[in-house]
């Protein structure tokens, strides 16, 4: 997020932050590479095929998956559909106003979409009913309920969990009769995104809104289960050096493994 802010307060805050960071400290006492506690509630919405509420510190999002039958895109007749949409609800912060999705919520939608799509989490080819005519469409809608930084990762975890735990009615023709059975989506792996920001020479993982509001650069990287990079996005209005970027990759990779272990544990317990 970068809402329009008061430039004086922003400058004061940045000075204070840089002073703390020179002693390797953050405002909330965390280590620079430490995440806030992540808490997860699975399937809070019974009417959705899958859903998850995820909090990272005070950031809270809820994602719901709806699986419907529809037409495939003309350029991918033999693939199911994946549609990711994020919305910053006006109740989520004093700075958000009602209206059509703005560029920031569109960015979250598209970064989450690319992470899930490019990691090949979902075998979209298995979601075809009749090639070119009928496919299953997986709609992932993410509501941002409370904003306190790092919406990318909160939205990503919520989206991944709701897809991984979703059950839908699959039509199967058995001995000439059409039957429906409840099955899981064709999930092949659990991708994880890790977001960090730079302030001066410092790299901070999982920024709060306060930290995020003074960042130089922001980087979100999505990893698949083999530790390969499958999507990434730079934000922020200051240039990033190649060395800094590689340092961010090195810091993010082990963090992604930690978060993946947590997600898998939650799914295993479901």
């Amino acid at each position: 997020m970068s809402f329009k802010r008061s430039s004086i307060i922003e400058n004061l805050r940045k000075t204070q932050m840089l002073d703390l960071l020179s002693r390797q400290k953050r405002l909330d006492g965390r280590a620079l590479d430490e995440y806030r506690p992540i808490s997860i509630k699975l399937n809070p919405i019974q009417k959705a095929n899958g859903s998850a509420e995820v909090s990272i510190g005070d950031t809270k999002v809820i994602a719901g998956v709806k699986v419907e039958i529809g037409e495939p895109f003309p350029d991918t007749p033999e693939q199911g559909l994946l549609v990711v949409n994020a919305e910053f609800l006006p109740l989520s912060s004093a700075m958000v106003e009602p209206g059509p999705p703005d560029e920031y919520s569109i960015e979250v939608s598209r970064v989450v979409d690319r992470g899930i799509r490019e990691s090949q989490m979902l075998a979209l080819k298995e979601l075809v009913i009749e090639p070119g005519k009928l496919v299953y469409c997986v709609f992932v809608d993410i509501d941002v309920l409370n904003i306190d930084g790092n919406l990318f990762d909160a939205a990503f975890i919520a989206a991944v969990l709701s897809i991984a735990t979703a059950k839908y009615d699959k039509k199967i023709v058995k001995e000439g009769k059409e039957e429906t059975t409840k099955v899981s989506l064709p999930v092949r792996l659990i991708p994880v995104s890790v977001t960090s920001i730079t302030i001066g020479d410092n790299i901070l993982l999982d920024p709060t809104e306060e930290e995020d509001s003074v960042h130089d650069s922001r980087v979100t990287i999505t990893f698949d289960e083999e530790g390969r990079l499958c999507a990434g996005q730079k934000g922020g209005s200051v240039g990033l050096s190649v060395e800094q970027l590689f340092k961010i990759v090195d810091l993010s990779k082990p963090k992604a493994e930690e978060i993946r272990a947590l997600i898998k544990k939650v799914i295993g317990n479901a």
């Binding site: 329009k4 430039s7 004086i8 999705p101 560029e103 920031y104 569109i106 960015e107 939608s109 598209r110 690319r114 799509r117 490019e118 990691s119 090949q120 980087v219 698949d224 530790g227 390969r228 990079l229 499958c230 999507a231 990434g232 996005q233 730079k234 934000g235 922020g236 209005s237 200051v238 240039g239 990033l240 050096s241 190649v242 970027l245 590689f246 990759v249 990779k253």
Partner: protein, 238 residues
């Protein structure tokens, strides 16, 4: 699966893995604008125009100690294989945002308090790497407008096709390949101002792709410099 690289290591359009498509830049193509540029990068044909710094409307957008940038990246309906409806898509809105951020890296916005700089990008014909070509055009237009800049920005993508890291992806390589990494770069400050990627890259491939994109950017920088010199030396002679 389409084969993107043949046995001789050549790509569908005959390029080597580290070869750019032809790039041509023309500075000062829109009379009314404060700065403008036209770029052809492969089949991309893109115009960028800068208006401002000028008074902010609506007033509530104003920031007291610096200028704001408003960027609109737009594709003409005839720019793609199938007609693109004229209203902005989510993709265009996101690209407008990342282009704006790339510009924020390079401009001395604090030199123009309480004002707005409008940057319009129109893609007349699209090919792979249109956001990268756009940022090069924007940078030429900004330089043409005379707004103070820290450096120039150039854009060039790298990516992965048939398991190989390649430079400057064309449309088909972008669609059929295994990965795409658009990078915008300030060559004198050696800083990245725009980075996105999708596809599957091992850590080694990621680093290799980034290095290759930066190498491509440095080549485009020379073309951009020449285009700017061309315009300004000509004017001096008149």
């Amino acid at each position: 699966m389409i084969k993107l690289i043949d046995e001789n290591g050549l790509r569908l359009d005959g390029r080597k893995f580290d070869e750019l498509r032809p790039v041509r830049i023309e500075v000062g193509v829109i009379k009314n604008a404060n700065g403008s540029a036209y770029i052809e990068h492969g089949k991309n044909k893109i115009i960028a125009a800068v208006y401002g710094p000028r008074e902010v409307h609506p007033k509530h957008l104003l920031i007291p100690d610096r200028a704001i940038i408003r960027c609109r990246y737009h594709m003409s309906p005839f720019s793609t294989d199938e007609r693109k409806p004229p209203q902005p898509t989510r993709r265009e809105i996101e690209i407008s945002l990342v282009l704006r951020r790339a510009m924020e890296c390079v401009l001395f916005l604090e030199d123009y308090p309480r004002s707005i700089i409008d940057v319009y990008v129109e893609v007349l014909q699209s090919d792979g790497g249109s956001r990268c070509a756009s940022i090069t055009a924007i940078s030429a237009a900004l330089a043409d407008s005379g707004i103070s800049m820290r450096d120039l920005i150039v854009g060039c993508a790298s990516g992965k096709a048939d398991g190989q890291i390649i430079l400057d992806l064309s449309d088909i390589e972008d669609k059929e390949g295994e990965g795409d990494m658009p990078v915008a770069y300030m060559p004198n400050l050696d800083k990245i101002t725009l980075l996105q990627f999708d596809g599957i890259f091992s850590e080694y491939e990621f680093k290799k792709a980034l290095d290759l994109a930066i190498m491509g950017n440095k080549k485009i920088y020379e073309i951009l410099r020449k285009a700017l010199m061309e315009k300004y030396f000509k004017t001096e002679e008149k």
